[in-house]
């Protein structure tokens, strides 16, 4: 088991209101799986993904990744964990405006203190992989949404992470670009990448190997797609 979540709970407290985003989540994901998480707005999909990505901490519960318990790690250790193991794709791409596409992708490797030559090689490879090599020197604002999302995917895979997290990766894209992105994700999964994707699109969810439905902070159904 690559990922094992048990009794995961996430509460948000503001001045007087306490909101429960996740309520006692149990979820196990094997290496090489492609999991689609679905559910209505506010059901806790993105919160779950953030916790999986260690950019948010559960209020209680345990999160084990490859046998390592993550909830006990400190800030710096979590940063190191993310560097080595995770790749992210967001709905709104989250590329840094001030950096070129090439630099955006390279960023994930810079924090690993990788030698420049190897970084360049890997970045070029990742860009080829998603078909945006010709846009390397452009800034994000000069690219279409589809191209930006492909760049974001290149950034997610350039470090060869053990897990790729995608938060509505097709949410801001038209049908054609959405399909292209899904193609890339499937291909990555076929090549062995473990992917967890949040989506609103039933058709895109069907392209995953497993589908997890959430409601009000809980996992209600987990079914394997017949592919």
């Amino acid at each position: 088991m690559l990922i094992d979540l048990s009794h995961i709970q996430r509460l948000y407290r503001s001045d007087e209101v306490e909101t429960t985003a996740l309520l006692d989540i149990h979820l196990g994901i094997e290496a090489g799986e492609f999991v689609a998480i679905m559910g209505p707005s506010g059901c806790g999909k993105s919160t779950l993904l953030n916790i999986l990505g260690t950019i948010d901490r559960p209020t209680s519960g345990s999160y084990s990744f490859g046998g390592q318990e993550l909830t006990e790690l400190g800030e710096a250790a979590l940063a190191a964990f993310r560097r080595e193991n995770l790749g992210y794709v967001f709905q709104s791409f989250n590329l840094i405006d001030e950096l070129t596409i090439e630099e955006n992708i390279e960023l994930a490797l810079i924090y690993r203190r990788m030698p420049k030559a190897e970084r360049r090689h890997r970045v070029a490879h990742a860009m080829d992989h998603v078909g945006i090599a010709h846009r390397a020197r452009h800034y994000p604002s000069q690219l279409s949404g589809g191209q930006q999302q492909r760049a974001a995917i290149a950034r997610a895979i350039v470090g060869e992470p053990r897990l790729i997290l995608a938060d509505e990766p097709t949410g801001n894209l038209d049908t054609e670009n959405g399909a292209q992105v899904m193609d890339i994700l499937q291909r990555l999964n076929d090549e062995g990448a473990t992917i967890v994707m949040v989506t609103h699109s039933p058709s895109h969810a069907d392209l995953a190997k497993r589908r997890v439905d959430m409601l009000d902070g809980q996992v209600v159904i987990s079914v394997r797609n017949a592919i």
Partner: protein
């Protein structure tokens, strides 16, 4: 519209107090500093300018080109020239002589000194001075007449109604009763006569003094009022012939200047307008000011204002994006571009007006401070401020308002409302903001380096080795006259004071009044060498009192009769022992001090054998080169000193107590002459004070510039912090640690500061090298000055942005990614 603008500004103050605060206080600081320095510059440029007919007023200056010394212009000229000038130049309407002299009043043995002068009855007509009481033309016509300033009258009698009152006036130990014949009206504009408290006419005995009858002697200034301003040029053009006509004479004529006076001596007319700056380069002028320094101070004021404006522009453009959504919604609701432009411009103007009012208040606070720092009678002149302030406010308001107003009012609502992120003006605006911060810090660091160098140099001048031991040394006033017995009694009295280690006379002392110079000739192996030497005569114990450094040979010895200066009647028959200073030795061309020993030099009248050489002793301004000097010895056995200056080395007594004791001892010998034993630092203060004051102004400017620059950097960092929360979220998601984020942000924030430092250093280096070149004794420009300034600026910049940086680096990635 006005109500909308007001409401909007008030709400912004409530919602973004930091932004509005930075904007308003930054601008106010810039405006306050600018107004204050503008008043100072205006004061210096307006010096003398309010004198009636100032364009027709001139001072006659003397130019000496003497052997062995650099030619120099001296403020003042021989009074002997006056009658010839009147004869030869019909352009002269009227003229007055003025000798600054220390008059004091005596009451029950207590002396009160006044800034005073002796002058001609025509004085008031020349300068168009108004009298509060008395008739200008008659006030000094009677020999016992006396004109007091309003302040002096109040000091003496408690009222200005003092016409006809008797004042016992002491001059050089002689007290004469004068009658008040005029009271000077108080002046509100600055000129070189502003400080004068007491004026008396010359006495008939004065008219036989050498400066009244000889060409080569001067004791005061000669002022002319010409008929037309253009006459200055034409009179100046004929001055050389004038000198040849009148100053030439046989070598035996002590009052003339030889057969070719024009070779060593020249007269020129120095216009009183602009004399403040010109006098900086004139020797023994009143209080000249370096025009470059005043211009630099003015420039500093302008820069402070520019920095503040840059801040306002920077903050305004940075924050403009935050209001994009407001603009979009307003436009959607039907606001036109023009209405929005007017609104944003109006807001900027209103902020500028508030800043202007605060700036004026700051100016009111700063002006008295600057006045006390500079010692100038500086006041807030609302005539000037009334013109400048509205201009500044409009300019600042426009500058800070125009860009955001245009950009904001031009936003397309659909694009803004649809965009996930706030617009920031793009990379162009970011570069502009960086450039402005670079400019601000560049200016601030330049000023800081200049401030460090100026203060270091000033400090150096105060503490530099003057060639004698300053501490434990007190110097008295000149003892008037040449009474041998009184001089002996004085030395005995001073030596008897408990605590005195040694007491002696010299004709020179730190900050000397009277100087005797003559050309000495050395018949060397390669022909005669002429050097113009400053002459000092010293008594026994002088060496113990001043403790100069002996470089070669020996000091005078009472046991050797030939060391003693010959009596006046034997000067032509006997050689006197003499000590030279190092400058004189090198001017004569001796290879070393030791080589000068035993050589004989002479003036034709006096012959001297060099028995010793001392290191240069500095009695005058560190800006001036040390004059080559010859020292003679007078044991007071047969020859009296002329106006000797007593000096005392003491030990084991507090300086002020010692001064009191010495003054008492002096009064025992000369009860009629005021005495003032003071330390070297006090006597030399006038030489340093100008630079010290300007150093303080630069410190003020540097602090203001740094403060404004930091406000700018802080504002920018705050803006960048707000904008970059999201980016930091992405970076952290990609695995960046808190430390990496801090390093990244600090690097980004400090890059413009570091670039600024790199730009500032060469500029400051050039400026300060030029400034230091004006000093004979100066510090070396070392990397330390630059490193300290740069390190200081970077440290302050780091402190400024550190809070923002840590705040940003600690943000949780998930929350940061949600933030927009």
């Amino acid at each position: 519209m006005l109500a909308t603008i007001l409401k909007s500004v008030v709400r912004q103050i409530r919602r973004h107090p930091l932004y509005v605060g930075l904007n308003v206080f930054g601008l106010a600081l810039g405006i306050g500093v600018f107004l204050t320095l503008a008043l100072l510059v205006r004061y210096e440029y307006g010096f003398n300018a309010a004198l009636p007919d100032v364009d027709r007023l001139v001072r006659v200056d003397t130019r000496w080109s003497l052997p062995g010394t650099a030619p120099g212009e001296y403020a003042g000229s021989t009074f002997h020239a006056l009658s010839f000038l009147r004869e030869d130049f019909p352009e002269i309407e009227t003229a007055a002589r003025l000798e600054n002299t220390g008059l004091s009043t005596v009451r029950e043995g207590n002396f009160t000194a006044f800034v005073s002068g002796l002058t001609d009855p025509s004085f008031f007509r020349v300068f168009g001075l108004k009298l509060l009481h008395g008739a200008p033309d008659e006030a000094l016509a009677r020999p016992d007449g006396l004109v007091l300033s309003e302040r002096a009258a109040i000091r003496l009698f408690g009222t200005t109604d003092v016409m006809g009152r008797t004042v016992p006036v002491n001059r050089d130990g002689v007290t004469v009763n004068h009658t008040v014949t005029g009271v000077l009206a108080r002046k509100t504009t600055p000129d070189f006569l502003s400080d004068i408290e007491m004026l008396a006419p010359f006495a008939s005995s004065d008219l036989t003094r050498s400066c009244f009858v000889a060409w080569g002697s001067d004791c005061g200034r000669l002022y002319l009022k010409l008929r037309r301003p253009g006459d200055i040029v034409s009179v100046n053009a004929r001055m050389r012939d004038f000198v040849i006509r009148h100053a030439a004479g046989a070598d035996s004529d002590a009052n003339a200047l030889g057969m070719h006076p024009e070779k060593v001596f020249g007269l020129s007319l120095a216009p009183l307008r602009g004399a403040r700056f010109r006098d900086f380069h004139v020797l023994y002028a009143d209080d000249g000011v370096d025009r470059t320094v005043i211009n630099s101070i003015g420039l500093m004021g302008l820069l402070a204002l520019a920095l503040a404006c840059a801040n306002a522009i920077n903050l305004a453009t940075a924050r403009a994006g935050l209001r994009a959504r407001e603009v979009a919604i307003r436009k959607t609701l039907g606001a036109s571009r023009k209405v929005l432009f007017v609104q944003f411009m109006g807001e900027a103007m209103l902020v500028a007006v508030i800043a202007g009012v605060l700036g004026l208040a700051l100016c009111e606070i700063l002006v008295p401070e600057v006045a006390s720092l500079t010692g100038e009678a500086l006041v807030v002149r609302y005539g000037l401020v009334g013109v400048l302030l509205p201009l500044i406010v409009v300019a600042c308001g426009f500058a800070s308002g125009v860009y955001p107003s245009m950009v904001l009012s031009g936003y397309r609502p659909a694009a803004v409302l649809a965009a996930a992120r706030m617009p920031s003006g793009g990379r162009g605006a970011a570069r502009l903001r960086d450039a402005l911060v670079t400019g601000q810090f560049g200016i601030a660091v330049t000023i800081v380096i200049c401030m460090l160098v100026i203060n270091h140099q000033t400090d150096f001048m105060r503490t530099a080795d003057p060639g004698y031991v300053r501490s434990g040394l007190l110097i008295g006033s000149a003892m008037p006259g040449n009474d041998l017995a009184a001089q002996r009694r004085m030395l005995d009295a001073l030596r008897a004071v408990p605590g005195v280690v040694a007491a002696g006379f010299g004709e020179l002392a730190p900050s000397p009044d009277n100087k005797t110079r003559s050309t000495y000739t050395y018949d060397g192996p390669s022909g005669p060498v002429h050097v113009h030497l400053l002459q000092d005569i010293v008594s026994t114990s002088y060496f113990e009192v001043y403790r100069p450094r002996l470089l070669a040979g020996r000091w005078f010895d009472t046991a050797r009769g030939l060391d003693d200066m010959p009596a006046r009647d034997e000067t032509r028959t006997r050689t006197a022992g003499a000590v030279l200073n190092a400058s004189a030795v090198s001017r004569f061309g001796f290879a070393s001090p030791a080589e000068a020993l035993g050589k004989v030099i002479g003036t034709g009248g006096i012959t001297a054998r060099i028995i010793g050489v001392i290191d240069d002793v500095r009695f005058e301004s560190p800006r001036q080169a040390i004059y080559p000097e010859i020292i003679f010895f007078d044991t007071l056995s047969k020859r009296p000193f002329v106006d000797p200056i007593p000096a005392v080395r003491f030990q084991g007594v507090v300086e002020s107590d010692m001064a009191r004791r010495l003054n008492r001892a002096w009064a025992g010998v000369l009860p009629d002459v005021a005495s003032d034993f003071s330390a070297v630092d006090a006597r030399m203060a006038a030489y340093y004070s100008g630079d010290e004051r300007r150093g303080r102004i630069f410190t003020l400017g540097a602090v203001a510039a740094l403060l404004i620059a930091c406000m700018g950097l802080y504002g920018l960092a705050a803006f960048a912090a707000a904008r970059r929360v999201h980016e930091i979220g992405i970076r952290k998601t990609l695995g960046a640690t808190g430390r990496q984020i801090v390093t990244l942000l600090l690097g980004d924030f400090l890059r413009p500061v570091v670039v600024a430092c790199l730009l500032a250093c060469p500029i400051a280096w050039v400026v300060m090298r030029r400034w230091l070149a004006g000093f004979d004794e100066r510090i070396a420009l070392t990397p330390a000055h630059f490193l300290i300034a740069v390190a200081g600026a970077v440290a302050i910049a780091i402190l400024t942005v550190l809070g923002q940086t840590f705040h940003l680096a600690r943000a949780e990635p998930a929350r940061a990614l949600r933030a927009e």
